[in-house]
């Protein structure tokens, strides 16, 4: 431990115990012994005072000469014992005495107690000897005008102690206050120690944090490299592919001359597969940005009805081709009733395009794909829900189909990247297995949730919950 534990450090009483507690302590000692006490700090400030002025003191203070002598004595008492280790006694001209008890801990003075005035048993004028009829010479010398008759009455009224009792009193006071000093000092050192150890752990944590930060920075750098690698590769892949598609398009438009039916068919296949490849590259790029959390999202209040209506418009031709009914189960005007969600309109469009496209893909002719939206009921079962309610408001969008449905075991796995329910090479429906993975990551990037439920009598429902727009969102 540092300098705090050095034995010579001053341990000040007033810093350890509050004034009210010191007064209570002093008062209780006064009650016990009947002697006045004054408690001084190590610098001589009065901390606590008890007892009434003795009758003789009041009498002496009536005249200027007595007042001055009394003040001089008090000043002497206050000075006494400032550096002493042992109790000292100051004799008053009235024959009374003051004991100055220094309070020490670890060799340093924490304060001092002045006990008195009191008189010793056996001193003259103790009232025990009937012949005590004269006043101390000192007293008369200081103030010849003193009312001797009153003084003779007042002097014996002063508290008297035997020398043994005075000794006990000094010892008692010293023990009590030194115990206070000791425990206070210990508490002080302990708290300092706590602070020091906390600082030390803080320092260690800081060093560790720095190491972690360095490691983190290095990883981030690697990550950047990887990320730029991916975007470079996808750029390098897309450039030639765009050329291929462009030239195929020109050939198909017979710019380079007429084509035979067979040539046209071959070129159409090249174009179809090329577009598929381009879509796949875009999807992979999206996926990697979502995984890294670098997908830029521009969050604004979004009216979900218009997003869903756009999706329906886009996919209606596909649905008609398949003979599937696309139903936006939102009445016109219901948009005002639905609160806006917080999100990026383009990305939300991508989410629902994926979901509805999937639903149409797995539906059989004559069946329905339905889109519905409404505010979700909160989970009031959660403890403290009332505090979270404004932050938990959700708009729930449900995309239902009557397709083959998803078995329970696959309900969470369908959102894994590259997961295919039908993993055989002869599967009926094509796809990269990235669509739903991207949906889930996009929804989560919006602070939302997505899950699958069963539809009745058959099919499944994809339920997307999106946070409702608030000023804080």
């Amino acid at each position: 431990m540092s300098s705090d534990a050095k034995p010579n450090e001053p341990t000040h009483l007033e810093k350890i115990v509050d004034a009210a507690t010191l007064r209570t302590l002093c008062g209780s000692c006064h009650e016990l012994y009947g002697v006045s006490q004054r408690l001084f700090s190590s610098t001589g400030t009065l901390l606590a005072e008890n007892g009434e002025q003795a009758a003789i003191c009041a009498l002496v203070n009536e005249n200027p000469a007595g007042r001055k002598a009394c003040a001089d004595l008090v000043a002497q008492v206050k000075r006494a014992g400032a550096s002493a280790a042992e109790a000292t006694t100051i004799h008053c001209f009235t024959g009374a005495r003051y004991d100055v008890v220094p309070l020490q801990y670890l060799g340093a003075q924490g304060g001092r107690i002045v006990v008195g005035p009191f008189r010793m048993e056996g001193d003259a004028l103790d009232g025990s000897a009937p012949g005590d009829k004269s006043l101390p010479e000192n007293l008369l010398g200081i103030d010849p005008r003193l009312d001797q008759a009153r003084a003779l009455k007042a002097l014996p009224a002063m508290v008297r102690l035997t020398s043994k009792r005075a000794e006990t009193l000094r010892k008692h006071l010293r023990l009590v206050f030194e115990a206070v000093l000791k425990s206070g000092y210990e508490a002080h050192v302990t708290s300092k120690m706590h602070v020091a150890t906390t600082r030390e752990s803080y320092h260690q944590l800081k060093v560790k944090n720095q190491q972690l930060q360095d490691a983190h920075d290095r990883l981030k750098e690697l990550d950047m490299l990887q990320s730029s690698f991916l975007s470079t590769v996808s750029h390098e892949l897309r450039t030639p592919l765009t050329s291929i598609l462009g030239y195929t398009d020109m050939l198909l438009n017979q710019i380079a001359g007429p084509l035979t039916a067979e040539q046209q068919e071959f070129l159409s296949t090249i174009q179809r597969q090329g577009e598929r490849l381009l879509k796949l590259i875009r999807t992979l790029l999206d996926m990697s940005r979502l995984e890294k959390g670098t997908m830029p999202l521009e969050k604004k209040p979004v009216r979900i009805r218009s997003v869903l209506a756009d999706v329906v418009t886009t996919l209606t031709p596909v649905a008609i081709d398949k003979g599937v009914y696309l139903d936006l189960a939102l009445k016109k005007g219901s948009d005002e009733a639905l609160p806006p969600v917080a999100g990026d309109a383009d990305r939300l469009h991508q989410v629902f395009l994926n979901l509805v496209e999937n639903a149409v893909k797995f539906s059989s002719p004559g069946s329905y794909v339905t889109l519905a939206a409404g505010e979700a009921e909160g989970g009031t079962d959660e403890v403290g829900y009332i505090l979270f309610a404004p932050l938990r408001r959700r708009l729930e969008i449900r995309v239902s189909d009557n397709g083959p449905g998803i078995p329970d075991r696959a309900k969470t796995r369908v959102f894994d990247a590259f997961y295919q329910l039908d993993n055989t090479s002869t599967r009926e429906h094509s796809g990269t297995g990235l669509g739903l993975a991207i949906v889930k990551r996009l929804v989560e990037a919006h602070g939302g949730t997505v899950h699958v439920e069963d539809n009745t009598p058959q099919g499944c429902v994809f339920v997307v919950g999106l946070p409702i727009w608030t000023e804080q969102a």
């Binding site: 009031t380 009332i386 505090l387 309610a389 404004p390 932050l391």
Partner: protein, 269 residues
């Protein structure tokens, strides 16, 4: 750690390492079977400047001098709570009472930087009052603080589902607050009791405290058979605490002041 003789037994946890967990030296419900002494620890939790200390000061003001201890306060220079405030409340032990109960009410420091102090003070709590700021601008800080409370309770091996909990929406007199209708609606469906308050004017302070004490006593009674051990019925203990606070209404009537109260449905009963 072997149990030392004469030490109060901590009965809150059912064994294991926390059997004698005395956070900060103030235990969870401490029972001194021979001496019929009981100490209950209640903690006021919540975001900074939400009114926890104000609640405590108002309770202190209501208590008669012989039933209250001095508020122990450890605060920073700007009068914000540093470690905790603690108000001891003495019940029973007079006249014919054959038991003596001390309720220690703690507040935690709300400012974010004192997270570790909050966790320490929360240790061994028998009941928790969450003091939320009603203003719309404070929705997020309330939610964060409550999540932290849940985590801290969990870290102290006290799942939030098991601890008696009361929520207070303070500062109902300010503009731009969460509307009564909304709070009524949610509270009516919620598990915990939610009280409105204006702590600075003493409104809702006693209701929150009495509800918490009532729930805490009930939970402890179920767990440790307090009523039987001390020969004090729940209604009597609650009534005694209520009369110390100068509350004239019976507990049932106080509980009706909460959000979402519906006549006929008894909650927390």
């Amino acid at each position: 750690m072997p149990r030392r003789a004469g030490r109060p037994i901590n009965l809150f946890h059912k064994g294991g390492r926390n059997r004698e967990a005395f956070a900060l030296g103030f235990g969870v419900v401490q029972l001194q079977p021979g001496a019929r002494e009981l100490t209950i620890k209640l903690v006021y939790y919540g975001p900074g400047l939400g009114g926890k200390t104000t609640n405590l000061a108002m309770l202190h003001e209501r208590l008669p001098a012989d039933a209250r201890g001095q508020i122990v306060t450890l605060e920073t220079a700007d009068d914000r709570t540093l470690f905790f405030d603690m108000l001891p409340l003495m019940v029973g032990g007079k006249g014919g009472d054959n038991y003596h109960m001390q309720v220690k009410v703690f507040t935690v420091p709300g400012q974010p930087i004192h997270a570790s102090a909050r966790r320490l003070v929360l240790g061994g709590a028998d009941g928790v009052a969450f003091i939320a700021d009603s203003r719309l601008t404070h929705v997020e800080t309330n939610a964060q603080s409550f999540s932290e409370l849940r985590d801290n309770l969990q870290a102290n091996d006290m799942p939030i589902d098991d601890i008696p909990l009361v929520i207070q929406f303070n500062k109902r007199d300010l503009p731009k607050i969460r509307p009564d209708a909304e709070l009524h609606g949610i509270a009516a469906q919620s598990r915990e009791m939610v009280f409105p308050a204006v702590a600075a004017r003493g409104i809702g302070v006693a209701e929150t405290f009495m509800a918490l004490f009532h729930l805490t006593w009930r939970a402890l009674d179920q767990r440790h058979g307090l009523s039987e051990r001390f020969g004090v019925r729940e209604d009597l203990a609650v009534e005694q605490v209520g009369s110390l606070l100068g509350v004239e209404e019976p507990i049932d009537q106080l509980l009706r002041t909460r959000f979402g109260y519906k006549a006929g449905a008894r909650k927390g009963a």
